[in-house]
Symmetry: C2
């Protein structure tokens, strides 16, 4: 670590700048199975202005800058393959403003989704995007996260009005306004959403909110085969009945969830459904969806009647990742994340299951089926390199399959380091060159989260 830079950062931040090994290690790993890569130092800014000053100093000293939120990413987004300074935004945790009239709010990048939810519920409001982890909004924006509500409410892409961003040159910009739509110039908000910190550091996020509906009802429905479940979902989407959540669990995942969360669901391909609206509308929607499910051989709806039962069910769903790990104690999980057009989803899952069956791996599946997105959690034994190799091979085959079906290599987890090798296959060299040109234009020294997302050009 450059001594002059360390001194300048200490002067700026005091003990909120550190090179302690413990902190460096904490900031060089995430929830993935990738080998950690710690940064040279960690900063804990309290304001956008401090972030701007850190970025300016790092740029002066040609030091890589890695934004850090909750460390819950799954593709090595927060690693420091080229060393550098990790900017941990978790202490920027202020909810700046909430407007019930405008159904929007502004939060600092370090606010987590559960923190905001606690703040909003008493106001009769909620924010719908809910990745599995209790991630920060800076991180959720940077990976274009989604979750179980995306089928109805959209992903982070649809739910951000504007961002405050510190650019590589240390300038602070707003990417938009609080207006709910705008045709004024290039869409900088969507450029920084999903940019994984490679173009700047997001320090504030202005979010669209929703009013808590009058009625929420949750149902569970089982199928003898997953193909029927997917077909039923396809038809529900076509007839346009609003469903807030449509989550799929295969029989292996149901078993894992039963064990981990103490549920007693029938171990078969299963959908969790949630309906939002007025009492009348919810009852009517549920009745219509139930009829479709029946037509495809689904069981009768099992209703989660009260708030406690609903919370238990969704908490169990959110803990699917940890339930999978506990399913094979001592294992780690390689998580896949493709998303395909829904007409290809059943076929994609079927072929993938055949791959799994032909391997030695256990791999429960959960899916945001309404969006065509699903995750396979491939459980590997940390002591068996063969497991990793088998899982990597499965993932590679799955990614190629999704691309051949018109899908994407990542529906919501992002590229990070793990998916970089597939970027050219998805986008083609022409589109990748556009991304490189944008990166070069905004970050000419390649100091913003380098070694992520955009693969280096051959020969460079």
């Amino acid at each position: 670590m450059n001594k002059e830079l360390a001194q300048a950062l200490t002067q700026l931040l005091g003990d909120r700048f550190t090179t302690a090994e413990y902190e460096r290690n904490q900031h060089g790993k995430d929830e993935s199975t990738l080998r950690p890569m710690p940064p040279d130092a960690v900063c804990f800014p309290l304001s956008t202005e401090e972030v701007a000053e850190i970025v300016r100093l790092c740029y002066q000293h040609h030091m890589p800058i890695i934004p850090f939120g909750a460390g819950s990413s799954l593709e090595g987004h927060v690693f420091a393959p080229h060393g550098g300074v990790s900017i941990d935004l978790s202490r920027m945790d202020q909810i700046v403003r909430v407007s019930a009239d405008d159904l929007d709010c502004t939060v600092q990048a370090g606010v987590t989704r559960q923190q905001l939810d606690k703040h909003l519920r008493p106001l009769g409001l909620f924010f719908p995007v809910d990745p599995g982890a209790d991630a920060t909004f800076g991180g959720m924006a940077s990976t274009r996260a989604s979750g179980t509500n995306a089928v109805h409410y959209g992903t982070m892409s649809e739910n951000i009005l504007m961002l405050k961003v510190v650019l590589p040159n240390g300038e602070i910009i707003n990417t938009g306004t609080r207006a709910r739509k705008s045709s004024a110039g290039y869409d900088l908000t969507h450029l920084f959403v999903g940019a994984e910190g490679t173009l700047g550091v997001i320090t504030e996020v202005t979010l669209r909110l929703q009013g808590v509906p009058e009625a929420i009802s949750v149902a569970v429905v089982g199928f003898s085969a997953f193909e029927a479940a997917v077909q039923a979902v396809t038809e529900v989407r076509q007839i346009g009945v609003p469903v807030a959540r449509i989550e799929f669990l295969d029989e292996v995942m149901v078993k894992a969830v039963n064990q981990f969360s103490g549920l007693s669901l029938v171990e078969q391909p299963t959908l969790f459904l949630e309906f939002h609206g007025s009492n009348t509308a919810v009852a009517d929607n549920a009745q219509q969806v139930g009829a479709v499910m029946h037509a495809y051989g689904g069981s009768d709806f099992q209703w989660a009647v009260n708030q406690e039962e609903r919370t238990a069910l969704w908490t169990a769903r959110h803990n699917a990742y940890f339930a999978s790990l506990a399913f094979r104690p001592g294992s780690r999980a390689l998580t896949t994340d493709v998303c395909v057009p829904i007409s290809r989803l059943a076929e994609c899952i079927a072929e993938t299951r055949r791959d799994v069956d032909a391997s030695s791996l256990v791999a429960p599946i959960v899916g945001h089926v309404g969006d065509g997105n699903f995750h396979m959690l491939m459980l590997v034994d940390p002591d068996r390199p063969d497991d990793y190799a088998a899982a990597e091979k499965l993932n590679e085959r799955l990614v190629r399959r999704a691309l051949a079906m018109g899908g994407t290599i990542t529906g919501e987890h992002g590229v990070g380091m793990g998916k970089m090798k597939y970027m050219a296959a998805q986008h083609g060299e022409g589109a990748l060159a556009v991304m490189r040109a944008i990166k070069q234009a905004l970050d000419p020294e390649n100091l913003m989260n380098p070694g992520k997302m955009i693969p280096a050009e051959l020969g460079k």
Copy 2:
């Protein structure tokens, strides 16, 4: 016009390349009151490959390139202030594919919204974005258009899955996949949506579709004052009852629409509402919304019962622009387009109406009030320069007011030449510098629709 280039384009396109004065004039004007600026020549390509070849040739000869759709823009987007070649995409009018299972379709850039609607309705599908004009999808994508359904279904920004684009260097790229969400790299789709042809030429658009709902019902409700109408809409949004359309017309606009479209609405501030869903849900939603309207002094709902009445009502709304022109025969209209947070909407309209009252102008108002977006159609006498000056002054005051309220200079019409002077005020120099850097990176010679959207730097 460079002779060598003209020869090359003639060789490529035959009589689909022209320098005829009539075509040049047709392609140098739009629906605005801005003074036309014809291009040097017009091309009518039939394929993406032809567009790519035209762009390559123009770039070689340093000739500006101006994409052209229906010519229905309102801010001079298709003008040729620096001369150049207009690429008219209207003959690329193929509907490439429709998937009912995936609720998506791909159309060439020259397909118009009414053309697609005719194609989709028999399939039980529709595309919700509906600007006033029968615009092309290339144009709607390029201006980030919206319309009356945006409050529920979103704008072009939320309804495009991917684009095919010809880059300034003549390369053809896809900006995404058919997956409904993706976290793979920079969001090139949203970069080109709203870029107004300044970064490339959109040749194909892949759209999200909707299933036609079981029930559609349309109601009209009148208020004695517009503030109450806006407040009622704010509350409806808060309680989260889904309304597909919420359109506002002030009493002047109602009068204009009555005269032009032969309706007999009471001449007072009025909302047009539309509900989509099952029969039960629509009845329930309408009942809830009706109760809110009543609480704010709204009249009883007048229902447009059958399809004919509904069509008559919405056609009248879509023709508001022409109704306004006919309201003062021989006049032209300067159209405003600000969008503000809905909590400031009533105040914004009130102050604007005071401005109008203090002027000599007649200026009916329509608004997509659920989004905070409204249009004032300031009627000017083409023979009275004072009218133009007064209208320009009103617009300037309105734009500044919207910005001060946290809004945007344009909700859906785009920047073009007309709003360029306000870009710095909205975005600040830092964000504008980012836009310039992107433009420079992708179009280093500034040949893609030059002189639009991004103001030149001072001193350049």
